[in-house]
């Protein structure tokens, strides 16, 4: 699987570059924050940013403009990750941060390069302020695991969402047969088994003859990083298509569909089902960015924001933090402009 090898080598390079930047520059304007797969939470008046990186990278800001790098979430990697991928040749990817009932829940991915030998784990903390005496990440182990040959999905890229009944669901997935959604237990750290409830919420073409262990066609079938955002009675399912992690050669883009139900079906502007390849474009690269993707969406002080990473063409395609306001058109679809 030379594609995935390249993808992962590029990812390592990107992250090493990002780490390199970070050590010399712990504060950066948001346009220059080197990040991959960003998610954000606000506690009191501070914004906290989490992203892919050694031990899960953390940044903080008072204004979403100037960011300061903090210690990563994990000083050491959790022992249970050895069970998923032996030998330590794995990476911690794509976190998701959610606040619920007095705790912050940080979901994150553990995976092996190019394989769906993966798992989503979860940590919790009563606070995100590092100086708070109660600040401590508690490891709750793994939530979901994917097994090659058994599962036609990849347990990475988690996103937790609550439906209108207050029931938690986990969206996740990358390549294979698309984006999955599973009902979570109210305790937020495991899936609900009474009974288990699973759905596919978005997918692209996959040739039936592909081997179980084949992630899929990177040129036409890449789909990952789901993020569900609630607005005006709809659930909006953002996903990322096409090629990430190739610097200036990235073609990453964000598409969206919506549904009245968290379980779908999610339809795009043309009424196409996202499970049948549907998805309406939200953001793609331009003269400044090769590609944009792996977004989150939040409401802060009454304004909706899209958070993503973008491959900066003025900086050799390094991935940088992108924050833009989301506006909504007359039909209730999100509109995001790359112009400041």
């Amino acid at each position: 699987m030379s594609h995935s090898l390249r993808f992962h080598l590029s990812l390592i390079l990107t992250l090493l570059l990002a780490a390199g930047l970070a050590t010399t520059d712990t504060a950066a304007q948001h346009l220059d924050v080197p990040i991959h797969d960003p998610v954000m939470a606000k506690q009191d008046s501070i914004f906290y940013l989490f992203g892919t990186g050694r031990g899960i990278a953390v940044w903080s800001s008072h204004d979403m403009e100037s960011w300061e790098r903090l210690d990563p979430v994990f000083p050491d990697t959790p022992p249970w990750t050895e069970e998923i991928v032996e030998g330590g040749r794995y990476h911690l990817w794509a976190p998701d941060i959610t606040y619920h009932n007095g705790n912050y829940y940080l979901y994150y991915s553990v995976s092996a390069f190019g394989r769906n030998t993966s798992a989503i784990g979860v940590l919790s903390n009563p606070t995100l302020h590092p100086d708070d005496p109660e600040f401590e990440w508690t490891d709750h182990g793994k939530v979901i695991r994917s097994v090659p040959g058994r599962d036609l999905w990849n347990a990475i890229d988690p996103n937790l969402v609550f439906d209108d009944n207050g029931t938690p669901w986990m969206a996740f997935g990358s390549f294979w047969m698309g984006m999955k959604l599973v009902r979570m237990n109210d305790n937020m750290i495991e899936i609900d088994r009474n009974p288990q409830e699973w759905y596919t919420i978005a997918a692209r073409h996959r040739y039936w003859k592909l081997d179980d262990r084949d992630a899929g066609d990177p040129m036409n079938s890449t789909i990952e990083a789901p993020f569900i955002f609630k607005k005006n009675g709809y659930y909006y399912n953002f996903v990322s298509w096409d090629v990430c992690c190739r610097g200036e050669d990235s073609t990453y883009k964000i598409v969206v569909g919506r549904s009245k139900y968290v379980t779908g079906p999610y339809l795009d502007k043309e009424g196409q089902d996202m499970r049948h390849g549907g998805g309406s474009l939200v953001l793609q690269g331009n003269e400044n960015y090769a590609g944009i993707g792996h977004n989150a969406a939040y409401t802060f002080s009454g304004t909706d924001y899209l958070i993503a990473h973008a491959y900066d063409l003025s900086d050799e395609g390094r991935s940088k933090l992108l924050i833009r306001e989301i506006k909504w058109d007359e039909n209730g679809w999100p509109v995001v402009s790359l112009n400041n």
């Binding site: 040959g149 036609l152 599973v182 009974p195 288990q196």
Partner: protein, 386 residues
């Protein structure tokens, strides 16, 4: 006779065939261990179609021999079973389970103890009986296991012990169906369970040496797909492949054109795997197309082989069974609309293919078929079902 014609149905998918719709289950008339259910010899039409015996109605038969007696297990209430001294005259016995295993209700709410596709085998002093709990057109299913020290009911050690679920499939999570399990050992003595029906095909999973649970190790190479057929990628997760799941609203799911294609095209219609070892090869037999439709059934048996139990399995033309390959072994003839769900056994040095076939002269009821199997010069199995 006491009318112990038991009409058995197994709906893995597909439509409700009214002609064999009403299960006529006459339970447990036999009180003595010798049974009073012997079918008179004059009903045997042995020799026709090269079948050793015709007449008893069974679906998905599986046979093992203990001492001088053949024991046959098949789909039915509590798992139907029969005995014979000669594979020709069969007597029906007590079902394995008087009532459904307790765990079945969670897997299939309202489960009525109609258990599918049992597989019996003997290993290290114990008889292992894998069986399926499911409902037609859906993959909320589980494979259970029961064991016994002996199959002779009058032996003091005779007692079926249920060990619960070996593997379970969950709709929306799994693209396979946990039914139709058969046990197989590779050349290293490692146990594997091969199973599956529709969805994305036949699965193989390594078992623990106790044969009761899936092997749990950090290694990733424990699951494999051994055979599959075309499946349109846009099908709903809960669609077996032919759009017959009663819980789905097909008007909303697919455009009419796609729905029509699904219903005609046998998309992914593969099930009932059985692995037989011979001369350094593992032969994987599977059934294609539609069972359970009486005279409208199109069921047939195909085969592929591999030097390794995990595959890849290739047919006579070198086509991978994972890419839709499979060489025909046996299909329906002028007396039987279709045949399938086979196993292969060696008794006293002779190989036999055991299956059921839909009797065109008896409204398509499924009947026991036992055929001698030979091997051609290239080492492929041959049966005659003329």
């Amino acid at each position: 006779m006491l009318g112990l014609n038991v009409v058995l149905h197994r709906y893995t998918n597909g439509y409700f065939n009214i002609s064999i719709a009403l299960p006529i289950i006459v339970l447990a008339f036999q009180i003595s261990f010798t049974g009073c259910a012997a079918i008179p010899a004059e009903n045997a039409r042995s020799g026709e179609n090269n079948n050793l015996y015709e007449g008893i109605t069974v679906h998905d038969p599986s046979i093992v021999k203990q001492d001088d007696t053949y024991y046959l297990f098949s789909t039915g209430a509590g798992i139907t079973n029969w005995t014979s001294a000669d594979m020709i005259n069969w007597e029906q016995q007590e079902p394995v389970f008087e009532s459904a295993p307790e765990w079945a209700e969670r897997v299939v709410p309202g489960f009525d103890n109609h258990i599918w596709a049992p597989h019996i085998s003997y290993h290290n002093g114990t008889y292992y009986l894998y069986y399926s709990v499911s409902s037609f057109g859906r993959n909320n299913s589980a494979i259970g296991l029961a064991t016994n020290k002996t199959l002779r009911p009058n032996n003091p050690d005779f007692e079926w012990e249920d060990h619960g679920i070996v593997v379970e499939s969950v709709p929306g999570r799994d693209m396979w169906n946990a039914i139709d399990a058969t046990l197989s050992f590779d050349d290293e003595g490692t146990p594997w369970l091969v199973f599956g029906s529709h969805w994305m095909g036949i699965k193989l999973v390594r078992l623990e040496d106790n044969l009761k649970t899936i092997a749990v190790t950090p290694e990733e190479n424990e699951w494999h797909t051994l055979a599959k057929r075309h499946r349109y990628w846009k099908l709903d997760d809960r669609d077996a492949g032919d759009s017959a799941n009663p819980e789905l609203d097909y008007e909303k799911l697919y455009p009419a054109r796609i729905l029509e294609l699904n219903r005609q095209s046998e998309s992914g219609a593969i099930e009932a795997p059985f692995i037989f070892k011979r001369n350094g090869y593992y032969f994987l037999f599977v059934s294609w197309d539609r069972c359970c439709r009486g005279e409208d059934s199109t069921y047939k048996v195909v085969v592929g082989r591999s030097g390794s139990i995990t595959g890849p399995y290739l047919d006579k033309e070198g086509q991978k069974l994972n890419h839709g390959g499979g060489s025909l072994v046996v299909k329906g003839n002028e007396n039987y609309s279709a045949i399938g769900h086979n196993s292969v056994y060696t008794f006293d040095g002779t190989d036999y293919l055991v299956a059921h076939a839909y009797d065109s002269a008896d409204e398509g009821r499924p009947k026991l078929i036992i055929l001698e199997m030979s091997w051609d010069e290239d080492g492929w199995p041959v049966v005659s079902f003329e």
